[in-house]
C-alpha cells in the first residue's frame, strides 16, 4: 500500500498493526505525536492495547518494564529529555532482559533549551544495554519498528530495542511510504511467548532481584553475550523482512562503496543529503562513497572495518557532541573498529548539525574536498572539528 505519512504517523500506524498489549505513554512535551496518534486508535477501539497514561517518562518506562515482565508486549515512544528522564529505567529494562520496544525521536538535550534534531538523547543511552537501530527516512522508521520485536524477543537475545528517527526531519515531514498489510505484519511479528513471566501461575517468578558482587559480573557477561547474539538475529530478521517487503537491510548501508577512495560514515537523514553529494561527485569522477550506520548497538565493528578497508580517507560525521574532547561517539566506535586493519585509511571526525543546525549538499561536498586533500597530502590537519557554526576564520 502506498501512502503519504509523517514519521510519527507511520510509527503510530505500525503500532496499530502490531496491536501491542500495553503502551506506557507520557503524551505531552517532550514526547512525540506517536502516543497522541496511538491514543486515537485506542479511543476508537481499533486496538486492544492497555494505554497507561503516566506522570513522567520515568514512569512510562516503569510501566513497560512491569508489563513486559508480566508477559505482555509493551511499547513506548519518547524524545530528548524524556529519554534522559528514562535513563535509569533503560538500564533496568535491559538488565532484566525485557524486550520492550521504544521509539526514540532524536532531539537535542537541554541546555540551552532546544527541541530540534541531533542524537544527544539516544547517545546518552548508548551504554544502557538497548539495541539501537537508526532510520534515514519514514520508510526505514516504519520498517525498523516492525523488525524490533522479532529481534528483541528471540530467546538468544532478550534485549529491549530502541528504534530511532530524526526529530522533525523524519518525525514530522510527510513522505511517500509503502505500508505492509496488517495481516502480513501480524504474521511477521507472531505471538509473544516468553518462557517465564510473572502471570504464569505454574511457575512463580521473581524479576530484578538484588545482585551483589558474587553474581553481578556473571549477569553482565550474559547481557554482553546477548548483545553479540543480537547482531546475528538482526540480520536473520532483516532477511525475513525482505521476503515480505522487498526492502533489504543490513547492519549498515554501503552507498557507492565498491571502489570508493573517499568515504563518509554517518547516520540518519543526513544520509539522504550525503547520497546527493556522492552522486554529484561521482559525476565529476571523484570516487566518493558513504556508509550509513543503521545498527549502532550492537556496533558492527568488524563489518565496518571491512567496508572501509579499501578507502584512503574517511570522515566520520557525528551529530552529537559527546564532550570527550577527542571526537564524537560514532567517531570513537569507527576509529576503534579500524584499528585492526593492516592498512588504515586517514580518519577525521566532524561534529555537525547540533540542535537542528542545517546541513546541505554543499556542506557534504566540502567534507569530501577536505578528504581529497588529506588523501593527496597525507596530512589530516585537526583530527576533530565542528562544522556549520559561525566562526572567525571559517569552520576550523
Amino acid at each position: 500500500m502506498s501512502h503519504r505519512l509523517s514519521g510519527n504517523e507511520a510509527i503510530a500506524y505500525a503500532m496499530k498493526q502490531i496491536d501491542p498489549d500495553v503502551m506506557g505513554a507520557f503524551p505531552i512535551t517532550p514526547s512525540t505525536e506517536i502516543p497522541e496518534y496511538f491514543a486515537q486508535y485506542v479511543a476508537n477501539g481499533e486496538v486492544n492495547t492497555e494505554y497507561v497514561a503516566v506522570e513522567s517518562e520515568h514512569s512510562s518506562m516503569s510501566v513497560c518494564i512491569a508489563a513486559q515482565a508480566a508477559g505482555a508486549r509493551a511499547v513506548c515512544a519518547t524524545s530528548s529529555c524524556g529519554l534522559a528522564l528514562m535513563y535509569e529505567l533503560l538500564y533496568v529494562a535491559a538488565s532484566c532482559r525485557l524486550p520492550i520496544s521504544l521509539v526514540c525521536v532524536n532531539r537535542a538535550l537541554s541546555g540551552p533549551i532546544n527541541i530540534n534534531h541531533d542524537y544527544s538523547d539516544s547517545m546518552g543511552g548508548r551504554d544502557s544495554g538497548w539495541i539501537q537501530i537508526y532510520a534515514e527516512n519514514n520508510q526505514e522508521a516504519y520498517d525498523n519498528f516492525i523488525m524490533a520485536m522479532p529481534i528483541g524477543e528471540h530467546p538468544n537475545v532478550r534485549l529491549p530495542v530502541m528504534t530511532c528517527m530524526d526529530g522533525f526531519i523524519t518525525s514530522h515531514a510527510v513522505e511517500n511510504i509503502e505500508l505492509l498489510e496488517t495481516d502480513v505484519v501480524r504474521r511477521f511479528i507472531g505471538e509473544y511467548n516468553p518462557e517465564h513471566y510473572l502471570l504464569k501461575r505454574e511457575n512463580p517468578l521473581a524479576v530484578g532481584p538484588y545482585d551483589l558482587s558474587p553474581y553481578y559480573m556473571e549477569h553482565k557477561v550474559m547481557q554482553a553475550e546477548a548483545m553479540k547474539a543480537a547482531k546475528v538475529r538482526i540480520l536473520e530478521v532483516a532477511a525475513k523482512f525482505e521476503k515480505i517487503s522487498g526492502r533489504c537491510y543490513g547492519l549498515f548501508e554501503e552507498y557507492r562503496m565498491e571502489d570508493a577512495e573517499l568515504a563518509l560514515v554517518l547516520m540518519g537523514s543526513t544520509a539522504g543529503t550525503a547520497k546527493a553529494a556522492v552522486d554529484k561527485l561521482r559525476e565529476d569522477g571523484v570516487k566518493a562513497g558513504l556508509v550509513k550506520t543503521r545498527v549502532f548497538r550492537p556496533f558492527p565493528g568488524q563489518e565496518l572495518a571491512r567496508a572501509l578497508a579499501g578507502t584512503r580517507a574517511v570522515a566520520v560525521m557525528d551529530k552529537s557532541e559527546g564532550f570527550s574532547a577527542n571526537g564524537g561517539p560514532l567517531f570513537a566506535e569507527t576509529r576503534s573498529a579500524l584499528y585492526d586493519l593492516k592498512e588504515r585509511p586517514y580518519l577525521i571526525d566532524i561534529v555537525y548539525g547540533l540542535g537542528g543546525r542545517d546541513v546541505k549538499v554543499e556542506d557534504i561536498e566540502k567534507v569530501f574536498g577536505r578528504l581529497a586533500d588529506i588523501a593527496v597530502t597525507g596530512e589530516i590537519g585537526p583530527l576533530y572539528t565542528h562544522m556549520g557554526q559561525r566562526s572567525k576564520g571559517g569552520d576550523r
Partner: protein
C-alpha cells in the same frame, strides 16, 4: 529449569538465569542474613511460658515454632535487633554483645 538451590558463588555464568530471574517462590530461606548480627539474643527455655508474643514481633523468621512451643533461635535469620527481648514479659530472652554467644 534452573533452581535457586543449585546456584551458588561457584556457578559459572552459563548456568545462571538471564537477569538473575528466580523461578520459584520462598528462596529467601536459602539466604543467610544472620551474619549481619552484632548483638545476639539468648533463649532461656526454663523461663519461657510459650505465650508466643515474641514470634509475630520478630521481623524475620528467627523464632521457629513447633507443636505450640517456640524453639531456640534460628540464628541463620536473626539480625540481633532485640525486639523479642523487649516484648518478652518474662526473663526468657537476654541480649549479649557480639554476633555469637560465647
Amino acid at each position: 529449569m534452573i533452581y535457586a538451590k543449585d546456584i551458588n558463588e561457584n556457578t559459572p555464568w552459563q548456568d545462571l538465569t538471564p537477569g538473575g530471574e528466580i523461578y520459584e517462590p520462598g528462596t529467601a530461606r536459602l539466604f543467610n542474613t544472620g551474619s549481619w548480627r552484632t548483638n545476639t539474643p539468648v533463649f532461656h527455655e526454663e523461663a519461657c511460658k510459650h505465650c508466643m508474643l515474641c514470634v509475630p514481633f520478630c521481623p524475620d523468621s528467627a523464632i521457629p515454632v513447633k507443636d505450640g512451643k517456640r524453639l531456640d533461635f534460628d540464628y541463620m535469620y536473626c539480625k540481633g535487633c532485640g525486639i523479642c527481648k523487649e516484648v518478652c514479659p518474662f526473663p526468657a530472652i537476654t541480649m549479649v554483645t557480639g554476633g555469637v554467644v560465647k
